[in-house]
């Protein structure tokens, strides 16, 4: 429990926070059946440290039911973006917490189903009245039982009751939008019931989570805030010596470095295995190392215990240049912002150099004990996301295909010839239950090629699809090297039948530079013409990162008139000849 600050630290920090005006804003509601004082201070400080403006509503003590059922409640007036609801096991079980065996196993089953439907009704009420995401906790399974060591001998016993409830709750939530389970039972297991729960504080003030543990709970809740705001990190950049393997390749040599299944090499084998699993779920890996390229690449290619292979790295910069310049090069090559990058380096001097020069990059502090590497990685909440999409699962393959494209580009001198040789196919798709999660994810994550940077949760996209005024589409991009997945999104407001407005027009950085955006625009122009629209307008909302959009609008012959960029549909517009467009 050493890596979090104390609650009194958060109290003092929260007190001295000045009012801020960050771009990222969030309204958080905290509801619970017991005292959670202190949690709002923890969240407020954590938000401010990540440049997020937060407003926090703390529900009345054990008032969550009334606040959710009453549609005039302060909770609804607050209009939260995200709501956490924590209900404790005593509250759910009532007297059965002490006497679960006072009723038969059949009655216990009925009881669990009743409680589940009560919770589900509460969720339905909440969804009717609020567009907030709802994070609801499951119940921790107490370690005691009136049956003692005989607990597991009875049908549907005390512990099984709660386990079953938790499982059923999880299953039920799977079918709901914007409602997610928070595994409170896992939180209690992580720290231990005896550390979380203190009878004295419980009796005296209904404190059910020890004050020292609250910052940890706040940290877990903060993961949801990161995911909600689309601030999750996309890429881990790694040093090599004493980070991916033990020792220094330039000094210890191929046979002298530590990497394997026995100590001390197993530390690095394990760390690589966790990195590999993050890569498999869509986090990009890259290397930034001061080394002789040939020494280092030999380990990556030939060492029998390297878990990570050359293809797992979207970019490898191994040279004697300074790591800050190398980091900028990685960011450029991968087309991702520095603020999407986490940097792992064992050397405190390198870490400090990076923090000082590129504060946007997240550079976690590492223990001088290398056996802590995996723990540090696993405890990071920077990679949090509500859903792992198919595109996430394909990402590492996509980036290794991208490396091949870059190689081809180097050998082709004419850009058009290069693009032509890629055999690019654009598949225009509608927003369906399959594509909506990815559409929402792209609106949340895309920064560079994004006309308005409007961030949309899945629920909002579904509302657009239902509305006759809105048109939502997305684009899958394939070429001879592979499938890039869904990488473009447009949302059109057709409210005015003569003048359509581009509400959202974005392209993932992964496919930039191939004129895909022109292909999408030509599709939009075609459907607009078919609908007898006279012009298309776009309001470019500039950010620090989306300058490419303005250039693009100019190149498409949009004219700037006051706040808008306008395209008159009597003009012609040609799809680049090397793009093959299909509409699904």
């Amino acid at each position: 429990m050493e890596s979090e600050k104390s609650l009194s630290y958060y109290f003092n920090e929260a007190e001295s926070l000045n009012s801020t005006n960050f771009k990222n804003k969030i309204k958080i509601a905290l509801l619970s059946s017991f005292t959670i004082n202190g949690l709002s201070e923890v969240l407020k400080v954590k938000c401010t440290k990540k440049n997020i403006d937060s407003k926090i509503y703390v529900g009345g003590y054990n008032q969550y039911n009334q606040e959710i059922i009453n549609n005039d409640s302060e909770l609804y007036a607050f209009k939260p973006d995200i709501t956490f609801l924590l209900i404790d096991i005593r509250n759910m079980l009532g007297n059965l917490f002490f006497f679960p065996y006072s009723i038969s196993d059949t009655e216990r089953k009925i009881f669990v189903n009743q409680k589940l439907s009560e919770i589900m009704n509460l969720i339905t009420s909440y969804q009717k009245n609020s567009s907030s995401k709802l994070i609801i906790s499951n119940f921790n399974i107490p370690t005691n039982s009136p049956f003692g060591i005989a607990e597991s001998q009875d049908q549907f016993g005390f512990h099984e009751m709660i386990q079953t409830f938790n499982l059923k709750l999880q299953e039920n939530l799977l079918h709901l939008d914007s409602v997610y389970l928070y595994d409170f039972d896992q939180f209690v297991r992580k720290f231990g019931e005896n550390n979380i729960f203190n009878y004295r504080n419980f009796f005296f003030g209904d404190v059910k989570i020890e004050l020292n543990c609250l910052p940890y709970l706040g940290n877990e809740f903060f993961s949801y805030i990161i995911a909600h705001l689309g601030l999750s990190k996309k890429c881990i950049v790694l040093d090599l010596d004493n980070t991916l393997w033990g020792g220094i390749i330039g000094e210890d040599g191929f046979d002298g470095i530590h990497l394997g299944l026995t100590p001390p090499g197993n530390v690095f084998h394990e760390f690589q295995s966790h990195l590999k699993s993050l890569s498999d779920r869509g986090i990009i890996l890259a290397i930034n190392s001061k080394n002789n390229f040939n020494d280092a690449i030999r380990v990556i290619r030939e060492h029998p215990h390297m878990v990570l292979k050359e293809n797992d790295f979207a970019c490898m910069i191994i040279n004697w240049e300074n790591k800050v310049d190398n980091m900028k090069a990685i960011s450029n090559q991968l087309n991702i912002g520095l603020d999407s990058i986490v940097f792992f380096d064992d050397d405190p001097v390198n870490r400090e150099f990076m923090r000082k020069n590129l504060p946007e990059v997240t550079t976690p502090e590492l223990s001088s004990d290398s056996s802590e590497l995996s723990k540090t990685l696993l405890e990071m909440n920077e990679f949090s996301t509500f859903k792992i999409t198919d595109d996430d699962l394909q990402r590492s393959k996509t980036y290794s295909e991208q490396k091949k494209r870059i190689e081809l580009e180097k050998t082709t001198t004419n850009l058009d010839d290069f693009l032509n040789s890629l055999d690019i196919k654009l598949i225009i798709k509608r927003a369906t239950s399959f594509t909506i999660p990815r559409i929402s994810q792209l609106t949340l994550k895309t920064n560079q090629f994004n006309l308005t940077t409007k961030r949309y949760q899945e629920k909002k996209i579904k509302e657009f699809v239902k509305s006759s005024d809105m048109l939502v589409g997305c684009v899958q991009v394939e070429d001879k090297f592979g499938d890039n997945g869904i990488t473009g999104v447009y949302v059109i407001n057709k409210d005015n039948p003569k003048e359509w407005e581009l509400d959202t027009f974005l392209l993932s950085c992964r496919v930039m530079g191939r004129e895909i955006e022109k292909g999408i625009m030509s599709h939009i122009i075609n459907i607009a013409k078919k609908n007898n629209v006279e012009r298309i307008k776009a309001k470019y909302v500039p950010t620090e990162k989306n300058q490419p959009i303005e250039k693009f609008l100019k190149s498409c012959n949009f004219e700037k008139i006051d706040d808008y960029w306008i395209f008159q549909l009597n003009k012609s517009f040609k799809n680049p000849y090397f793009l093959k467009l299909t509409i699904e």
Partner: protein
Amino acid sequence: MSSKLYSIIAKVMKVPIDSITDQSTPQSIPNWTSFVGYVLLNELETQFNVKFTIDEVIDVKNISDIKRHLKNHGVNSNE
């Protein structure tokens, strides 16, 4: 001169250290709400490595009560 105890109280209650006396109470220190009382308790237990009983917690009406209970646990906060 109770400096450690007073500085902990001053920090948690966010009041100047010289405004605290042994007779200070939750009424005389504006920030001393029931929850901040917990935070103080928690801080004292960590700093002095003691564990107060529920009776001791309930009994605290002013700073001298805290001193008395600390003394029960072998901590002389007047030093």
